[in-house]
């Protein structure tokens, strides 16, 4: 309460407040219903957690679960719409529409508008033509692409080798620091040989370049150059859908490209919306507000038209190698033996995961089917710990298991279980939760600080489809997350990464086997399945590469 004081001058409070109220009312009436997003240009930018391409060497299991017999299907009535529209609800809004993004969200949202030189067959996972019709390695450091003719960008500009070269050089220019930069060797350059022939050269032999280009979205160079602010609020590509509008915070809308080179798509409009809560995404499909809900939590996949597909995302733990007791391979093996992968897959992931034998999924080049699944064997784990202890290894030393708070509830439960099981085997593990920035800071602290005993939770996705991406980061000396220094391993890998074709597969598989038998720097846990829910009558097969292509979706009649 204000103290009594000299009387103020001017209008009375009541009159002022009345005027203020009226002003607010008038402003409310005049304000637009939705603030339109400022027009921006597509561009490249960093994006969190770049996903890696996967080479799929065999068809991946696609599971469709029918609703339980006891559950009555939820009747929804869809409003009569004049526009045939597909609404896809995803977990988060893309921060921008930069073609240099490589996140799962980018893969979900961009690829109806942007296309790439090379795509993947949705069933086999093999590389397939898109804007490039064919490609070959003309010398160890040069790949030549024959491009599709007669394709136009959505702004009317022609797609040709010059445009493709400009885009590739833009995306992989270190000065632009795009998210997908790390997918190719620094110094990768493209040039137009003729109107529809493109050469891409790398400073060293890079047999997996076509795979890497799966992430290189080809946008109109004119549109990129026009976006002088680098805001990336629109997309100008060659795909079956054109960018229509992006109401920031609310929706991203695409409209059919009537002149699409692959034929006019059936669905007229695609709308992306985002809801952070998996249960809300699921409810939206049940209520008829969306036709596809992506990235559902296993607990929200109990009913409805659920389709799931194995992807490369693999939760794992990696261990500091330099300091005892973790420097002793028996201790690392004991920790790996203390993980009940089957239980985790069935109980925590509700069956939407499969036990993992290695950090890469079966469809990745270099996957070794001969690496056995590490059993859950606490007796053997105890024996190894006892043996190490008898040899003077300080097994009682406290080992900190670092986990990011963003990992989610299921991961937290999983890690609590792993720590408990490992401690039952005679070790001294302690879980420490940190928020993501802090977790990453600690995880990247290399070389390992003296006396640090750390195990890090991680989740690795090799969408690149080649084991070299995983090995270079997690196992090779100098790798961002590697504390390994094994000369034999290095020798094996250096030979393998120069190869291509079946020889590459064999050689990389041998590298993975060597790591599993002789190094044990990581303990893979499970391979996760990506879960979608489809609306009534919607037909669509999910892809392991996270693309949700509207042209492949059939809506209910």
């Amino acid at each position: 309460m204000r103290t009594p004081s000299s009387r103020g001058s001017g209008m009375s409070p009541r009159v002022f407040l009345t005027l203020l109220f009226l002003i607010i009312l008038v402003l409310q009436a005049c304000a637009p219903a939705e603030a339109p997003a400022p027009a921006t240009q597509a561009a490249t930018s960093e994006s969190p957690a770049a996903t890696e391409a996967q080479q799929i060497t065999q068809p991946l299991p696609i599971e469709s679960t029918e609703p339980p017999a006891t559950e009555a299907p939820i009747e929804t009535t869809q409003p009569q719409a004049t526009v045939k529209k597909l609404v896809i609800v995803i977990g988060e809004e893309p921060p921008n529409l930069d073609p240099g993004e490589g996140t799962i969200i980018a893969l979900n949202t961009y690829r109806n508008t942007y296309e790439t030189l090379v795509t993947r067959d949705p069933v086999t996972g093999e590389l397939a033509p898109e804007l490039a019709l064919s490609w070959e390695q003309v010398d160890p450091t040069t790949w030549r692409f024959k491009l599709r003719e007669g394709v136009l960008f959505h702004d009317g500009e022609p797609f040709n080798a010059e445009a493709a070269a400009w885009m590739i050089n833009y995306l992989f220019d270190p000065a632009n620091n795009k998210h997908i930069l790390g997918n190719v060797p620094e110094g990768t350059k493209a040039r137009a040989v003729d109107t529809y022939t493109l050469d891409v050269t790398t400073p060293e032999p890079f047999p997996v370049l076509p795979r890497a280009l799966f992430f290189a979205n080809i946008a109109s160079p004119k549109a990129i150059q026009a976006d002088t602010e680098g805001a990336f609020r629109t997309m100008v590509g060659t795909g079956p859908y054109k960018f229509k509008e992006w109401v920031a915070g609310e929706k991203l809308v695409l409209t059919r490209n009537e002149d699409y080179w692959g034929g006019k798509p059936d669905i007229e409009e695609v709308e992306y919306i985002w809801r952070a809560e998996s249960s809300v995404r699921s409810a939206m499909v049940d209520a008829g507000e969306a036709q596809i809900a992506a990235a559902l939590d296993p607990r929200d996949a109990a009913a409805g038209n659920i389709v799931a597909i194995s992807i490369s995302e693999t939760p794992f733990i990696r261990m500091d190698l330099p300091n005892p007791p973790l420097s002793d391979i028996r201790i690392r093996k004991a920790i790996c033996l203390s993980i009940d992968r089957q239980n985790i897959a069935e109980k925590l992931f509700s069956g939407y995961a499969t036990p993992a034998t290695q950090l890469i999924a079966p469809d990745v080049v270099g996957y070794n089917p001969d690496i056995p699944l590490i059993p859950f064997d606490q007796e053997q784990a105890k024996a190894l710990v006892e043996e190490a202890k008898a040899d003077g290894v300080p097994v009682d030393k406290k080992i900190t298991v670092y986990l990011a708070s963003s990992a989610g509830e299921i991961t937290l439960q999983m890690m609590i279980a792993i720590v408990t099981w490992a401690n039952e085997a005679g070790l001294n593990l302690n879980l420490e939760l940190n928020e993501p920035a802090k977790h990453r800071e600690i995880a990247r602290q290399l070389p390992v600080p003296p006396e640090r005993l750390a195990i890090f939770w991680g989740q690795h996705g090799n969408e690149m489809g080649d084991a070299s991406y995983t090995i270079s980061a997690y196992y090779m000396p100098g790798g961002i997350h590697s504390t390994l220094n094994d000369p034999k391993f290095v020798e094996l890998y250096e030979k393998a990464r120069q190869l291509s074709g079946p020889e590459r597969q064999t050689a990389l598989a041998e590298v993975m086997k060597y790591q599993a038998d002789n190094v044990v720097a990581t303990c893979p846990i499970v391979h996760i399945k990506y879960i979608y829910k489809l609306g009534n009558g919607v037909q669509w097969q999910p892809r392991p590469d996270h693309l949700i292509l509207a042209k492949d979706v059939k809506l209910a009649q």
């Binding site: 407040l17 270190p174 620091n177 952070a276 980061a473 961002i480």
Partner: protein
């Protein structure tokens, strides 16, 4: 009074600036923005380049100087994630948050006033029990759970309301229902207590003795005198929601400031964080100013202080 308003705004802006500077400094102690934005396998060179591009390698005082010289022009820089001016992002989201805040505050006031007054008029009766029930409900029921239950019931099963999103008045109903319980639970007790105090005051007894009706006494005398604590608590509700109802915005996909702020904190999007703090600070200042004016409007005995 005009002088008072200007003087209040003048001093308050310093508070807002001080808070913004504090947030600026504290946020830079919380971790590396580059590590969050770039992929986990990003090279050290990529991380260094990101820091260079965004000026994060500069000494903290240089960064602060740059920030202040831009902030004077209300330029908080570009969002490091969304690459658009941070102030644009915040100002786009603000009206939606204010919509929720106004709606919830008025609804809460409306419900709490009716039930609280009835509870005060009939102590130990059914409305008293309702007061207790609402208070308990508001305190004990998690808003996250309530939101999901309401979505399931009203959207999925009954189909009466949209599950989430914004754009129409129907979209605001479920979020407001979730938000209203907490403040109503507290406010209804304040209303009851405050009105009860006034009902037993000597001047009301005099009024009854003079033959004035209870309704007249209630609306003309008791409620205005009971209003001060009620509007104080209601303004706290408004400010709390204007800061961002994070859970509700997240569950319902309501594109307000709360979710934007939490994402900015999580992603170390410093420009957006700073812009949000500044804008919300202004909202708080203005709310407190309006509150003071309301005091003066309701009670003629209150004079706004004009001396320094």
């Amino acid at each position: 009074m005009t002088t008072y308003i200007f003087r209040r705004l003048f001093y308050s802006i310093f508070v807002v600036i001080a808070v913004t500077i504090l947030v600026f400094l504290l946020s830079r102690l919380t971790g590396d923005a580059a590590l969050l934005y770039l992929p986990e396998t990003a090279s050290n060179e990529m991380i260094e380049r990101y820091r260079e591009i965004h000026g994060l390698n500069d000494p903290i005082l240089i960064q602060l100087g740059r920030f202040l010289s831009n902030a004077i022009r209300l330029d908080f820089g570009k969002s490091m994630w969304q690459k658009v001016p941070a102030s644009d992002l915040v100002l786009q989201r603000l009206p939606l948050t204010l919509e929720l805040a106004f709606g919830t505050t008025f609804l809460s006031l409306f419900i709490a006033t009716i039930i609280g007054v009835l509870a005060a008029l009939h102590p130990l009766g059914i409305f008293d029990s309702l007061t207790t029930g609402i208070s308990l409900f508001g305190v004990t029921v998690p808003s996250f759970w309530l939101a999901l239950i309401l979505i399931y019931l009203f959207s999925v099963r009954l189909g009466w309301l949209p599950t989430s999103g914004s754009g129409t008045w129907k979209h605001a109903i479920l979020p407001m229902i979730v938000l209203v319980w907490g403040p109503t639970g507290y406010l209804v007790r304040v209303v009851r207590t405050s009105v009860l105090e006034q009902l037993s005051a000597a001047y009301l007894i005099t009024g009854r003795a003079k033959g004035l009706s209870e309704i007249y006494l209630l609306f003309r005398h008791a409620l205005p005198n009971a209003a001060f604590p009620i509007i104080t608590v209601a303004s706290s509700t408004f400010i709390g929601i204007a800061n961002g109802a994070v859970i509700v915005e997240t569950v319902f996909g309501w594109p307000g400031i709360g979710k934007l702020t939490i994402d900015a904190i999580s992603n170390r999007d410093f420009p957006v964080l700073q812009a949000t703090v500044f804008v919300v600070g202004i909202v708080v200042v203005l709310t407190n100013l309006v509150l003071d004016l309301l005091y003066a409007a309701i009670d003629p005995r209150v004079r706004l202080e004009t001396n320094a």
